[in-house]
Symmetry: C2
Subunit: 126 residues, 2 copies
């Protein structure tokens, strides 16, 4: 007997972003091999930090933000991405709320080597 | 003497997509560790294929598409993503032109194990 064809569900960024309100708290929405896709809302200034073992990708889904580096900065708007090289110190900042898709290996902590009150629980799925 | 702060350039999807017109021909726009981000334009039907060694991520930047599987399908629209599991046979299709961001390890060939006239040159940067 033939199986009924499955309708697989796409992952919708807006729908995932509607499920939480807190800032600086990445939520996992998908995995590809040992990498995770996380949606996150930024507002205000984050802490200076780096990730010693990996690059990190930011894709802006809505709004705008700045990533500060020790030697300059990059401004990111909706429809833009940037890959932060491994070990490069950075500080994200968003004057108004900015919605971002992060891509990085499973296990990366949001504050990198700088732990503190903004360190979010890891591997939280929505 | 202090160095002038650098203005790093974001990668803008629309700007990258404006640089080519051909279909089924992924162009690399960024790398994160040993993964690549590629923009591609789909229109029509691709070939059935799979990638034996890796998952593959599709993010729809504009338009809509369907990915057919042997056991069903997924419909993807702008602002949606899907991760195709390693080894799962799939056939992308787009009735109207669809603009997609692909994420996969460096070296993955677009037609996977099914080589043919739609096999694109790999590692082409724009």
């Amino acid at each position: 007997m033939a199986m009924k064809p499955k309708d697989y569900h796409p992952i919708n960024f807006k729908e995932k972003l509607s499920k939480f309100t807190e800032h600086w708290s990445p939520k996992v929405i998908a995995e590809m091999n040992d990498y995770q896709f996380k949606v996150v809302k930024f507002q205000g200034e984050f802490v200076w930090h780096d990730h010693r073992d990996t690059d990190e990708t930011f894709i802006v889904l809505d709004g705008g933000m700045v990533i500060h580096f020790e030697d300059g900065k990059v401004k990111l708007s909706k429809g833009e991405m940037f890959v932060i090289p491994k070990g490069k110190k950075h500080k994200p900042e968003a004057v108004n709320e900015c919605k971002v898709l992060l891509i990085e290996p499973r296990g990366v902590v949001n504050t990198g080597e700088a732990h503190g009150k903004l360190t979010a629980e890891n591997d939280v799925w929505i």
